[in-house]
């Protein structure tokens, strides 16, 4: 039943069939969109009408390809900016939080930690609406009481970044904390005894040790942000992110350009995933 034990053919082949079916189930939607991105037709699906690159490059009213579709390119650009800022913020605050919870004791630490990991079990919808409500409330209060009208409190780019950061920091924290647990605190003690300040020893000793985890956290936060819909939809302003744009196109105006975008995403993710696996192997 495991590698080292003899198995009956039924067990062995039964298992193999099940696993194969599972991986077909896993890959079929991705393969379907990837292949159909090159289908010479205006329907998003079959039948196959021949190979074309129109859904990437065409620029006509019937066929608007990915690289000619300004709205689509714009939403991709918005998403890239959002994800970059969200991942940067999440990684910085997540790393700080990991250092705080792993190496300091303070009052109400348990309660703080509870709130820090709460986003793991709070549905994204709830984070979205509660942040929308709170920022609208604060913005409204500033407007009526102080006469300050700040755009940043209304739905829009910055609110999306902050909303996604609220849970991104949690994941970054957990990833960095996992590596921090393997850190030998004597290294820091040595730095302290050599007259480094606590912050210096964190900056020069601990952070370099954490570097792989910090990079990993950045990549994961970036990808989480890039694909996020549930929280983003409530906070987005007039410039949609890519998932928000994709959603409205799927609902109201599907063309194979959706397949083309999906294909590009699948391709990029496959490359990133392959690189990450190989670098992990090299680190070992």
């Amino acid at each position: 039943m495991i590698r080292s034990l003899p198995n009956s053919p039924l067990y062995k082949y039964g298992f193999r069939v099940y696993v194969t079916l599972f991986f077909i189930f896993l890959l079929i939607p991705l393969l379907a969109v990837s292949v159909l991105a090159f289908n010479d037709t205006t329907s998003i699906s079959l039948p196959w009408k021949g190979f074309t690159l129109d859904w990437f490059f065409a620029d006509s009213t019937e066929r608007l390809g990915l690289f000619a579709d300004e709205d689509l390119l714009n939403s991709i650009w918005v998403s890239l900016q959002t994800s970059f800022l969200m991942a940067t913020l999440s990684t910085i605050v997540g790393t700080i939080a990991a250092l705080l919870f792993e190496s300091f004791n303070f009052r109400f630490k348990k309660i703080f930690y509870f709130f820090a990991i709460a986003p793991l079990v709070i549905p994204g919808v709830i984070l979205g609406i509660s942040i929308l409500l709170a920022s609208t409330y604060v913005g409204g209060w500033l407007d009526t009481n102080l006469g300050i009208d700040l755009e940043i409190f209304g739905p829009g780019f910055w609110l999306v970044v902050l909303g996604q950061f609220s849970f991104g920091a949690t994941y970054a924290m957990l990833l960095v904390a996992a590596r921090l647990k393997k850190f030998d605190p004597e290294l820091e003690d040595a730095a302290l005894s050599l007259k480094a300040s606590r912050l210096e020893s964190i900056w020069y000793i601990t952070i370099p040790f954490l570097k792989p985890a910090i990079i990993g956290a950045f990549v994961i936060a970036f990808l989480m942000s890039f694909s996020n819909f549930n929280t983003t939809i409530f906070l987005v302003g007039s410039d949609p992110t890519l998932p928000v744009d994709l959603y409205s196109r799927i609902k109201f105006s599907s063309t194979p350009v959706l397949n083309a975008v999906s294909f590009m995403i699948v391709l990029l993710i496959t490359i990133v995933a392959t690189i990450s696996i190989f670098t992990k192997k090299q680190n070992k």
């Binding site: 590698r3 079959l46 700080i96």
Partner: protein
């Protein structure tokens, strides 16, 4: 201020700001908003919760969604457990590494793209219908999409990885020698699974179930895109209140109820298994 204290505040302040401004304060506001009338008057009222209990479509959807999410969680466990076991214990680690890569790709590609992929596969002129027609097995398209089955496929697809990974983590710590010993002593496969493998992987199963349940009950994309007109999902009620009827206070009440039901279910799961929330993230 000594250096230690300085370092502490340097780390504490950003974390406290994050938690206060983006987690605690918004949830307090969610709670308070749910007791305010939509007219904008500055009073507190129970009308939003009364609306929930008096209109059966709301509470029925709420109960249906909860039960459905529990069902999908069980299904995700049934589908994922053999895969997790296979990848950690049966095949060679080299192939397992490659298969893990395949497992992660749909996750990072994101829900919108994968759910859209299912539209392409299951749709009226989708890959499955057209292939069956091509093979001459059917003449008219089968109703594969916009029903509870397609919705379940979508929910399962986007959540099952979060079941597989925690189970794999616990299975990796299970010593093969234990299984070998039980097998040598004459235990059947079924007994080994029931008495050794399942109990050992229980923490992973619970963690996975919690995450899957939370993702499924809070999902909007799969029910909305793949579900039919009759597949009512509670998050859709929240979206409607916020994005089409603009009754935010009603929506806040619904959101708060969703938060309560998911927290209570998770709390019960942790209680029954004797685990702590701290461990869920690991």
């Amino acid at each position: 201020m000594d250096g230690n204290k300085k370092a502490f505040y340097f780390l504490f302040v950003p974390v406290a700001l994050w938690l206060f401004l983006l987690i605690i304060l918004p949830h307090i506001d969610l709670f308070l908003s749910s007791f305010k009338p939509n007219s904008g008057e500055d009073t507190y009222t129970l009308e939003n919760y009364k609306a929930f209990f008096s209109d059966s479509i709301y509470w029925r959807t709420f109960i249906n969604t909860t039960l459905y999410a529990i069902g999908v969680t069980l299904l995700a466990f049934a589908v994922s457990f053999p895969i997790a076991f296979y990848l950690t214990k049966v095949i060679s680690p080299k192939i397992a590494g490659f298969l893990m890569l395949l497992l992660l790709i749909p996750l990072w590609v994101g829900e919108l793209v994968t759910i859209y992929g299912w539209v392409v596969v299951l749709g009226e002129n989708g890959v499955i219908n057209e292939s069956l027609k091509y093979l001459g097995l059917i003449e008219t398209s089968l109703p594969l999409i916009y029903n509870n089955v397609s919705m379940t496929i979508g929910l399962l697809y986007m959540s099952m990885l979060f079941m597989i990974i925690p189970i794999m983590t616990t299975l990796e710590s299970l010593d093969d020698a234990q299984i070998e010993a039980a097998s040598d002593l004459g235990a059947s496969k079924w007994t080994v699974f029931r008495r050794i493998v399942i109990p050992h992987s229980m923490p992973g199963i619970i963690n996975g179930s919690i995450i899957v349940f939370m993702l499924v009950i809070g999902d909007y994309v799969a029910p909305n895109i793949l579900g039919g007109k009759s597949s009512l999902w509670f998050t859709e009620q929240i979206y409607n209140q916020f994005l089409s009827t603009f009754n935010w206070n009603q929506g806040a009440a619904f959101g708060f109820l969703l938060l309560i039901i998911s927290s209570v279910t998770i709390w019960i799961a942790l209680r029954l298994s004797g685990q702590k929330l701290d461990k869920v993230g690991e």
